[in-house]
């Protein structure tokens, strides 16, 4: 598993100057203490930015890379974050320049797969995010759990099948084919007297029709049908007139079809117009439906507390957000009723469009059948067909915008005119046919041929459209079955994951809250689209968590879920960060969290950040023996956030700042204090007792005085050493000016003070092991104390 080895930050967020957090070769867990705004979260931000290329809580507020550079940086300075891992090849360093360009240095072939994996893992829990999941709606919980467990692919698959299924159902070609097939089936019933759906049935009907003509064969296919017509045609005495009669009857039939389809379309238009009129009169209400998504989102933002409290999330005006949320709820309920009415109107629109498509389809045979009878109809037909297609487009577009569909001089007028002309042609064709003076036998044959042709063409249209309809329906049925089956599979798979996660959630929650009234916590699927925490409260199964749980219990639930997710889903990263997550816990529960981390996550690397000093002390005491490291961060206006550093680190800081000509007086004062504290600790200098922080707050003067007193009594060689006298009179020790007016301290004073500090360190430090001699390191048999390696000794009255 990948662990953090060290973290280097410079010029990033709160850290203005370079900071190195070394987790040593064993990649230890680390507790970091810092007051509020000391820069703790800058550490979390640095890890998040390096791995995820963003810092979620900043990006949510649209504060991106510009918010990452420390405000004290010059344009020539870069913000830098470097992370070293236990696997040296994974080391990654990111530089953010003043123009906000980002440069990444890493072994890409090695880091890329790891970073991609790490981005799907649970690495960071912040206080703000802790209860966010618990407070989400059931549906959002499901979405988030799916994302956490890597089930985005499952959701994507399900959504694709569902949206494809819906698109197929709404496909115009399907609706038109269905409509034409149904119409032709009705016509076949009229023509044949039976429900005629197969070619066998068609040929049976045709054979019955021709049986009295003794053709000498049975019609069994299309060719047979043609042969029958040819033989019947040969029986005409007046071939030309009979052929003309056939042509006229055929043209008349086609025209009558178009007239019938036009009447149907106009009826559908009537129904649509009257329903749509209501929508247009209620236009303002219906138009509000366009706000539905917006208001739903707004309510989500309010309910999820994703906006500044006490203000309108849109305009920032102060207001009561509960009132606004209730108002949005009422409006959304009102919209729900409007939407249902609107859906009914939409079904009229769909039906109207289908009849228009059927009309356009009916026009196609007209051109062929009238080409010889009345070729002048062709140009009118083209105009009519174009008008139908344009009208379909207009109806759709206007309906989407809730605009009135123009009735004149548009489709209705053109349709009426064309219908009237067709009726005229039909009459003309009928008159001409009547004037042909065929014999009764010939009339019967013409009727028979017309009927055969009509039956055949109607059946062929029915058949071809039925095939289209069946093809759609087979696919719709299959996709519906896939969708239904997959929902069941998805729920089973998700519940399986939830059961596994729930095991640990329940366990960790139980560790945090033993012997309380809440137990058996688990996540379960609720309804079709939701996930919710379920738990026993005084022995009764119930949900949701907010029903009975206090804030700290909800926080515990958030922590338990995060830790359970870490264990289950972190495949490569063996570390995670908990940033200030115990704010609402009392001491008992904090101690339990420490035990939980020690017992269940002993083999994980945990970076735990807190602003609570008492808890920090507890962590040091309880987890220190388990190998945990401890560090403190603090912040001052001059240097920004810093790790409470050793004198060596302070030397580096002073050197860096002096190179940039920045004031270092306060840093020198701090350095003197740290060096003196270090010496007093190593030499066991006796001082007056002080409680807790007061002990830490001793000033240099007091430390120097006590050190000199100890040296005078224990080490004759250093009695009244001049460097101690010089430091005692130094402006950094005697004068508060270094605090208040650092600019008043001359460079020369700083050089002198640093020289004195160096000399003081040389008196006690070992050039070999760099460790100061210690009063606890007594040289056996001699009145001497030594450093760690023993090469440097100091005469000491033991």
């Amino acid at each position: 598993m990948v662990r953090l080895r060290s973290l280097d930050i410079a010029g990033f967020r709160g850290f203005r100057f370079p900071m190195r957090m070394d987790l040593n070769a064993q990649c230890r867990s680390l507790a970091v203490f810092g007051e509020n705004a000391s820069g703790k979260s800058s550490i979390t931000d640095a890890v998040e930015w390096t791995i995820f290329d963003r810092v979620a809580h900043l990006w949510r507020e649209d504060c991106k890379e510009s918010a990452l550079r420390n405000v004290g940086l010059q344009d020539s300075d870069d913000a830098i974050v470097g992370i070293a891992f236990n696997d040296k090849d994974l080391a990654i360093s990111k530089t953010l320049k003043a123009d906000l360009s980002v440069k990444t240095a890493s072994k890409l072939t090695v880091t890329k797969p790891y970073i991609e994996q790490a981005r799907s893992e649970r690495l960071i829990l912040r206080a703000a995010d802790m209860t966010a999941f618990v407070n989400k709606t059931k549906t959002d919980k499901r979405q988030e759990v799916a994302s956490i467990v890597g089930y985005d692919d499952v959701l994507a698959f399900r959504n694709t099948i569902q949206s494809t299924l819906n698109a197929l159902r709404r496909d115009d070609a399907y609706a038109t084919a269905k409509s034409i097939a149904d119409t032709r089936l009705g016509r076949l019933l009229v023509l044949s007297g039976i429900s005629l759906t197969t070619s066998e049935e068609l040929y049976q009907v045709l054979n019955e029709l021709v049986t009295s003509y003794g053709l000498g064969f049975s019609i069994t296919d299309r060719g047979g049908c043609d042969t029958a017509i040819t033989q019947l045609t040969a029986r005409f005495h007046h071939q030309e007139r009979a052929q003309r009669k056939l042509l006229l009857d055929h043209a008349r039939g086609a025209a009558e079809d178009v007239v019938a389809a036009t009447i149907k379309a106009k009826a559908a238009q009537q129904a649509f117009s009257s329903a749509y009129q209501g929508t247009l009169e209620n236009k303002e209400q219906v138009q509000k439906l366009t706000l539905e998504d917006f208001l739903t989102k707004g309510k989500f933002i309010l309910d999820e507390h994703k906006c500044e409290p006490g203000r309108c999330p849109l305009c920032g005006t102060p207001l009561d957000q509960n009132v606004l949320s209730h108002e949005l709820h009422a409006r959304l309920e009102e919209y729900e009723a409007v939407r249902k009415e609107f859906e009914a109107v939409r079904s009229f629109e769909v039906s109207y469009i289908n009849t228009l498509n059927a009309l356009a389809t009916a026009c196609a045979p007209l051109e062929r059948s009238w080409a010889e009878v009345a070729p002048e109809l062709n140009s009118d037909l083209k105009v009519f067909t174009a008008t139908i297609n344009e009208h379909i487009h207009t109806v759709r577009a206007k309906f989407e915008r809730f605009e009135s569909v123009p009735s004149a001089p548009g489709f209705t007028v053109v349709a009426d005119e064309f219908q009237a002309r067709l009726k005229g042609y039909v009459l003309k064709a009928r008159d001409e046919a009547a004037a042909l003076e065929l014999s009764e036998a010939e009339e019967q044959i013409v009727d028979l041929i017309t009927r055969i042709t009509d039956l055949r063409s109607t059946f062929e249209e029915f058949h071809s459209n039925s095939l289209v309809k069946q093809a759609y329906e087979a696919q719709i049925t299959s996709l519906q079955a896939i969708f239904t089956d997959f929902v069941a599979v998805q729920n089973a798979a998700l519940q399986n994951v939830l059961d596994v996660v729930s095991c640990n959630v329940g366990k960790y929650y139980g560790i945090l809250h033993p012997e309380e009234s809440v137990d058996n916590v688990r996540l379960r699927i609720v309804g079709e689209e939701g996930i919710e925490f379920e738990y026993s409260f005084h022995g009764e199964r119930t949900y949701p968590p907010m029903k009975y749980l206090s804030e700290s219990h909800l926080n515990s639930l958030g922590i338990a879920l995060f830790l359970a997710s870490v264990k289950l889903f972190n495949k490569r990263s063996g570390f995670f960060l908990l940033d200030d997550v115990i704010t609402s816990f009392d001491m008992g529960h904090r101690r339990r969290l420490i035990r939980l981390l020690a017992d269940e996550f002993g083999d994980w690397q945990v970076i735990l950040l807190t602003h609570e000093s008492f808890w920090f002390d507890l962590i040091k005491r309880e987890l220190g023996p388990c190998g945990w490291l401890a560090a403190e961060v603090y912040s001052d206006p001059e240097n920004g956030s810093q790790l409470k550093a050793s004198p060596m680190d302070l030397w580096e800081l002073i050197k860096t700042k002096r190179k940039s000509h920045l004031p270092v007086a306060n840093d020198v004062r701090t350095l003197i204090e740290r060096v003196l504290k270090q010496l007093c600790e190593r030499l066991e200098v006796k001082m007056a007792f002080r409680y807790n922080e007061l002990n830490e707050q001793r000033m240099s003067q007091e430390l120097l005085c006590a050190l000199r007193s100890t040296l005078n009594s224990k080490c004759a060689a250093l009695r009244d050493n001049p460097v101690l006298c010089r430091l005692e009179s130094s402006v950094f020790v005697t004068n508060v000016g270094s605090h208040d007016r650092p600019d008043m301290i001359a460079d020369a004073d700083i050089d002198v003070a640093l020289g004195d500090v160096e000399e003081l360190q040389r008196l006690f430090g070992c050039p070999n092991c760099s460790v100061i001699v210690s009063a606890r390191q007594i040289v056996p048999g001699e009145n001497k104390i030594a450093c760690r390696c023993g090469k440097t000794t100091l005469p000491w009255k033991c």
Binding site: A146, T160, A474, S478
Partner: protein, 60 residues
């Protein structure tokens, strides 16, 4: 740091599609289209509709 074995999202989808091949209630060519696109990582509504339209063209 042992973790119980759970199926990934992609595994769930893949196993489901394999199980469909023996489901008589679902058209094999529809399954083939869905499965083919899923395996190529190209399963989208537009592509699936296009594949289904081609199948209908062949069927009619």
């Amino acid at each position: 740091m042992s973790t119980p074995a759970i199926k990934s999202g992609l595994e769930v989808v893949r196993e489901f599609l394999e199980s469909l091949q023996t489901n008589a209630a679902i058209a094999p060519d529809v399954v083939a289209s869905v499965q083919g696109l899923q395996q190529q990582g190209k399963l989208t509504k537009a592509r699936l509709l296009q594949a289904l339209a081609e199948q209908r063209k062949d069927a009619c």
